[in-house]
Symmetry: C2
Subunit: 327 residues, 2 copies
C-alpha cells in the first residue's frame, strides 16, 4: 500500500466544505487540517476536523503534500496562491479568465522558487470546459465552438438584484435557451453572443410596500447585467426563496460543430448537470490535487494548468490498470 | 515559423483517405507519402499524393516525423505497429479492447528499442470515450458509468447479415434507446447490459425469390449478434441501399451519474454525432500525431495511450496562447 496523500484545505466556505466531503470519497487521501482566517478555536467544535489559523500553515511544511485553496478569485487567491505555493504544492480554482496569464506568472515564479508544483484555475469553467474547448478545437480545427452556462445561479447577477432599492432578497438563474442548443445540435452554426444563448430568470423578494413594477423596470434595464438579455422577474415570498431556491445547481454545455472532408458535419458535446456547483468543483480540485502530488513526485515544479496534465494522473489506478479497464 | 510536421500514412482505405483530408486542415503538417501493400504505380494517377510500397518505408527514416497507421485491428496493426515503431514515431487506432494490454507491451518494446514514441489505440472508442470514462470516474468516484453507441453502422453485424442465405446486401445500425438515455440523464442509475441500451436496425436487400420471413427469422434469432436484442429487419431495394445507406455515420454517449456530499446528484455527459466515423477518427489520429512528435522531441520514448498525453500537446498553439484563449 502506498502512502496516503496528505491534504490541507485553505478556506472553509461552500467550496472548502465540499473538499472535505470529496476527500472522504477518495481512500488514498487524508485530510490533515483546514486553515482559516477565523479563530480556529471557535470552529473546532463544529465538526471532527482540525482547524488552524492560516498563519500556522508554515509549521506544516513536510506534513502536507498538497494544499487545496478554496478562497475567492477577486482578492483571496491572487494573494494566497503565490504565498502558499512557495511552501506547498497547491491546487486552486482561480476563475477570472482575463487575469489568468498574470496569475499564472506570479504563481509560476513562487512555485519554481519553492520547488513546488501548483495547478491553477481548475474546476469546470475554467477546467473541464476549457479541456473540451481545447480538445475539440484540436480535433476539428475547422468549426465553431459554443459554450452555454446553466441552468445555474450567478452570484454576480444575484448581487446586482439585491442592490436594487426595494429588494429584500433575490436570486438570478442563467438559463441556456433550449431552442438555440437544438439548432446547434442539429448542425447549424449561427454567430451568437452570450445574450443570444441565455435567458436571465430573477426571483425577487420585495420589501413591504415596495413598487414591484419599478423594481422590475430597474432590473430589466440594468446595463451590462440585464439590459441586453431576455430577463424575467418573478416576485416570491421569503419563505419560497428559502425552500425553493436554497440549492446551488449549475451546469452547461460546450459544443463544437466542425467540418471534415467535403462538408461532413461532426458534432462533439460535453455537458454538466450539477445539483451542487461547489461540491462538484471541489471534486475536480481533489482529483487535480492527486495529479499535483504525482507530478511533483516525478520532479516537476512550477505552475501548471489542466492543459498540462495527462488524465492518467487523476486516477488512483495504475497506468496498466487504466489501459486494461478503461481504454 | 517552426518546421512542418512530416507525416506518413500506412494504409489507404476509408481511414487513410480521412487522414489525407485531415492533414489538409492542419497547416503545421505536410503529407510526405502514403504507404500501401498494393502496387503504388497503379495508385499514383488517382490523386495528387505520393504512393510508396510499404516495403519502402525504411528509406524514409529521418524524412518522416510520424507514421499514422490506418490498417485494421484484426491482422494489420498487431504486425505493422511494432514493425514501424522500430523505425518511426507512430499513431494507431487499435481497437480490440481485450487485447490492448498485450498490444501495448509489444509496441512499447519495439518503440523503446527504436527510441521512438508510439501512441496506440486512439480515435473515439478507444480514445475520446476512454478519456471521458477516466476523467469522470476520477472526479466522481461514487457513481455509475454508461456508454451508448450509435446511431451508427456496425461492420461486424452488417457482415453477419450478409452471410444469411438469400441476402444480397445489407447494413446494420446500432441505435441507442432514447428512453433509457433520458432515464439516466434525469438521475436514475439502473443496472443495464449492452442489450438494454441499444436496438439493432437491419436494412436488407433480398435476392430475387428469397423467403423474406425466413431471412428475418434467421437474423433476429442469430446468437451473440441479434438474439438478445430488440432487432428490426426492413427489406429495401438495392437502389435504396445505395442512396440512403451509403454514409458512415456514428456516435454515442458516455454518461457518468455520480453522487457527492449527501446524495447530491452530479451528471457528466460526453457525446458525439458524426456524419463520418472514419473521417472523425482520422481527425483524432492527426491531433495525436502532433502530440507524438512533440513528446518525442521532449525526449519521451515507448508506447503511450491517450491517458498519458496532456491536451496541450494536441494543439499547434503555444501553452501561453492556450492559457489566454481557451482556459
Amino acid at each position: 500500500m502506498t502512502q496516503l496523500i496528505r491534504v490541507g484545505i485553505v478556506g472553509y466556505g461552500n467550496l472548502g466544505r465540499g473538499v472535505v466531503q470529496a476527500i472522504s470519497q477518495n481512500p488514498d487521501m487524508t485530510l490533515i487540517a483546514v486553515f482559516t482566517r477565523r479563530d480556529p478555536n471557535q470552529m473546532e467544535a463544529e465538526v471532527g476536523i482540525k482547524f488552524e489559523h492560516i498563519s500556522a500553515a508554515e509549521k506544516y511544511i513536510g506534513e502536507i503534500d498538497v494544499m487545496i485553496l478554496c478562497g475567492g478569485s477577486a482578492t483571496d487567491l491572487p494573494e494566497q496562491t503565490p504565498q502558499l505555493a512557495a511552501m506547498f504544492n497547491t491546487v486552486d480554482s482561480f476563475d477570472t479568465h482575463a487575469k489568468i496569464p498574470e496569475f499564472f506568472e506570479a504563481v509560476d515564479q513562487a512555485a519554481k522558487q519553492g520547488k513546488t508544483l501548483s495547478v491553477i484555475s481548475t474546476g469546470w469553467d475554467p477546467g473541464l470546459f476549457s479541456l473540451n474547448r481545447l480538445l475539440t478545437e484540436s480535433i476539428l480545427p475547422v468549426g465553431d465552438e459554443y459554450t452555454f452556462w446553466g441552468k445555474g445561479v450567478s452570484q454576480g447577477h444575484s448581487d446586482a438584484i439585491r442592490r436594487v432599492p426595494g429588494v429584500k432578497a433575490g436570486v438570478q438563474y442563467t438559463v441556456p435557451i433550449e431552442s438555440v442548443i437544438d439548432r446547434i445540435r442539429s448542425g447549424e452554426t449561427p454567430e451568437l453572443e452570450t445574450r443570444d444563448k441565455h435567458l436571465r430568470q430573477c426571483f425577487v423578494v420585495a420589501e413591504e410596500g415596495a413598487d414591484q413594477e419599478q423594481i422590475r423596470q430597474t432590473i430589466v434595464s440594468m446595463p451590462n447585467y440585464f439590459a441586453d438579455y431576455e430577463t424575467t422577474v418573478t416576485f416570491i415570498t421569503e419563505e419560497e426563496l428559502k425552500t425553493e431556491h436554497h440549492g446551488m445547481p449549475h451546469g452547461g454545455f460546450v459544443i463544437r460543430s466542425g467540418i471534415t472532408g467535403h462538408k461532413t458535419k461532426q458534432i462533439i458535446e460535453f455537458g454538466l448537470k450539477l445539483e451542487s456547483n461547489p461540491e462538484f468543483t471541489a471534486s475536480v480540485l481533489v482529483a487535480y490535487a492527486r495529479a499535483a502530488v504525482r507530478l511533483h513526485n516525478d520532479g516537476a515544479v512550477g505552475a501548471k494548468t489542466v492543459f498540462d496534465i495527462p488524465f492518467g494522473l487523476l486516477s488512483p489506478k495504475s497506468a496498466a490498470e487504466l489501459r486494461k479497464e478503461l481504454l
